[in-house]
Structures are given as structure tokens and as C-alpha cells.
Symmetry: C2
Amino acid sequence: MSLSIHGTQLSQPTRSVIEFCKFCRIDFNFIYVNIPKGEQLSVEFQKLNPFGLVPVILHEGFNLWESPAIITYLADAYDTDTQWYPKDRKIRARIDAYLHWHHENVREPIAGYVRGKVIGPLFFGFSELSEDDEVKLREKMHNSLRQISEIIRENRFIARTEQLTIADIFAFNEIFNTQIVNLDLSGYPDIVRWYNDIASIPEVVETSDGVIERFFKLKEAMKSSN
Amino acid sequence: MSLSIHGTQLSQPTRSVIEFCKFCRIDFNFIYVNIPKGEQLSVEFQKLNPFGLVPVILHEGFNLWESPAIITYLADAYDTDTQWYPKDRKIRARIDAYLHWHHENVREPIAGYVRGKVIGPLFFGFSELSEDDEVKLREKMHNSLRQISEIIRENRFIARTEQLTIADIFAFNEIFNTQIVNLDLSGYPDIVRWYNDIASIPEVVETSDGVIERFFKLKEAMKSSN
């Protein structure tokens, strides 16, 4: 079967999809999309995803976006049954419930802060955050981190499963990006323990390797071109 | 099989789950949760959903929250294959992609406005919106409506399927609630046409019957008790 993943390792959901494929031994071609250059807005790319967002997959002519929908589709298309997204209906339902909850409760508050603070002004021409907005976004992010902390303290894994699943990977990748704003996580010991476990998984190490450094390099390059 | 749905018809995602069960002839008991009275915060309810959100289902002892995850779980548990959420992997993937996109792009901007403007101050003790915040939220809602309009103009249905699916129902139920803020949709003729088609489906008529009137009654009751 032919599968390509279009995205960038700088994107949290792109990394989650790549990691999932690696966990499940699903072969793919990776097609790099240069977001800071705006390649996601090209006519070509928008044939794959009219919303201009990464990642997108192209699987035997079928294009699909939204990373959690991609996970479900690939698990079925490749008939996989792993701890990451098993066939067991109830475990899947717990993972799906997390992945739906994730958008407004994890991605939006955490990526929202990183975007508002650094990525937006740097790459997308957002104006710098006002002090008030900065405080509001930071508080939302910390609320989210407190909630994640509570969930994993009580349930060990984020989708209330008995093993790590793709839900943990989605949450991990959002928290990973807080390195861009030099966030100190030491106030969240449960997150730190869980985070370090995930950060040492070979497929995760491989996929995230150099991401933060690439980001800081881009930041320097943008600054010096201004 | 024993299935109960815990929620209120005032909640958009609860209505979507009820409508799905009716479309698929899945029997259920409906357990009313009185949100304005805060029943979702009770110890009893939080055993079903620790986040204190409706809807939740209890299916043969298994509790599950997040309405789109409930749809997938029920379709599999009851082995249904309807136009609303068919077994076809690619159509399902399109619907799933919409349902993930929905949270930040449809629910949050549309329900966000209705909540900020009316529901929050009335039921949840939010302070009244400042003029600035009102303008921002309204603009976000209209951006969302413009985007929905474009999608259904180009693809007829919201998940780019060839028939109505549960994705349309989720979008419809969010737009339905704009009646609470007396929103005039006539500037969106594509939405009006699509909306009226859905609004005349018997299962939808039955489920939404009296919802807006109940809401306005609650509003009057709250006002006169202040």
C-alpha cells in the first residue's frame, strides 16, 4: 500500500501521526511542508487539505486530514491491533473520548500560549501579546497542565487506560512544545515522571530529535532577517 | 442491551447523541440532568463523567463521555450501518475528520458566543461581556458561519459526503442554539437551505421540540428570581 504523510516535525500532530506509524510498523513516505514559508497555502497543498493544515495523509489516492481521524483510519486500513490504539472497543472509546476532549482542553490552551507568545508573532505576523492577554493565556495553559496532572495521578495514563496509548502521545507532543517558551514543568511532578517515560521511547526520540533546536535556529534566522 | 443517555435536550451534543440513536433505532433510557441546578457537579454524576459534562452514556456498566466518541462506540456496539455513520472506512474517516475539526472551528466559536452573551451570565455566574469581547466573539462566530457556508456550498454536506451524516447533525445543533441570541441567518443562504432540510427530519423535530421555548422560560424564571 502507498502512504504519504505531508507535514513537518515542527508540528505536534504531525509528530503524533509519524510516531503512530512507527509504533505500528506502517511504512510511509514523509513529504516535508515548509510552514514558515507558507507552503500549506499553495494551491497544490490545498488540494490535499482545503483548510491548509498539516498533517494530511494520502493513502492510495485517498486524502485525509485531522490527525486523530488519521489514526483511526490507518489502524483500520492496516488492520493493526497494538497497545497504542487497540481493536478493543472500550479501550478505543476511551482513547477517542480523550482525543476529542484534547482539542479544547489541551491543544488549544497549551499550543494557544506557545502560538500567542512566540510562534504567531514570529511566523504568522501576529502582533505581540498584550500583558493582559499574556496573563490570560498563561493561566489557561496552567489550568490545562493542572488538569492533565490530576488525570495521570489518578489514572496513570491520560485516556484512563492500563498502558500508554496514542492519547498520551498526543498530549505529550503538545507539552513537548512548551520548551519553545522555556516552560518549567517542575511544579508538575506527575507530568514530569509520565513525560520522561514517553520522551525515552525510541520512536519518540527519533521523531522529535532536533525539533526544538530547529525551532530556535528558525527564530534566530527570522530575527536577523528583520 | 441496556443503554442510558444522561444529559439534557438543552445541550447540543446531547441532542446529537439522542438523534443518532433514533436514526439507528437504538433503544435507550433518557436520564435528565438539570444543568442550571448544577446536577452535573454532584458526586453521583461525576462517577459517570469526572469532567462533569453532558452527555454521558452508561452501556452495560461502561460509562463514556464526549459525544463523537459515543457515536463511534454505539455504531460498533450495535453494529449499525446507516447513512449517518456508515461502516465504509473512507466515509467514516471524513465524518471523524469533521467531528475533530468541529470542536475548535464550529462548537467553540458558535457556542462560545451564545455562552459568553447569554448562557454564561445567566446560569454560570459569568460577568457580562465587555463591548470589546462581544465584538471579538461575534466576529469569530461569523467567521465560523462563513466557513460552514463555503463547505456546504462546495460539497453539499459538511463532511464532504454524498448524503447527510451525523457530522451535519452536530453542526446543525450548534447553529440551532443561535436562536437563543436571536441570530439572523438570512445572510447565509446556503446554511439556511441546508439547515431547513435538517430541521424537518422527524427525529430532529421531535428531539428539539420546545428547546428554545424552555430556554426562554428558564431565562424569565432566572430574571424574576434575581
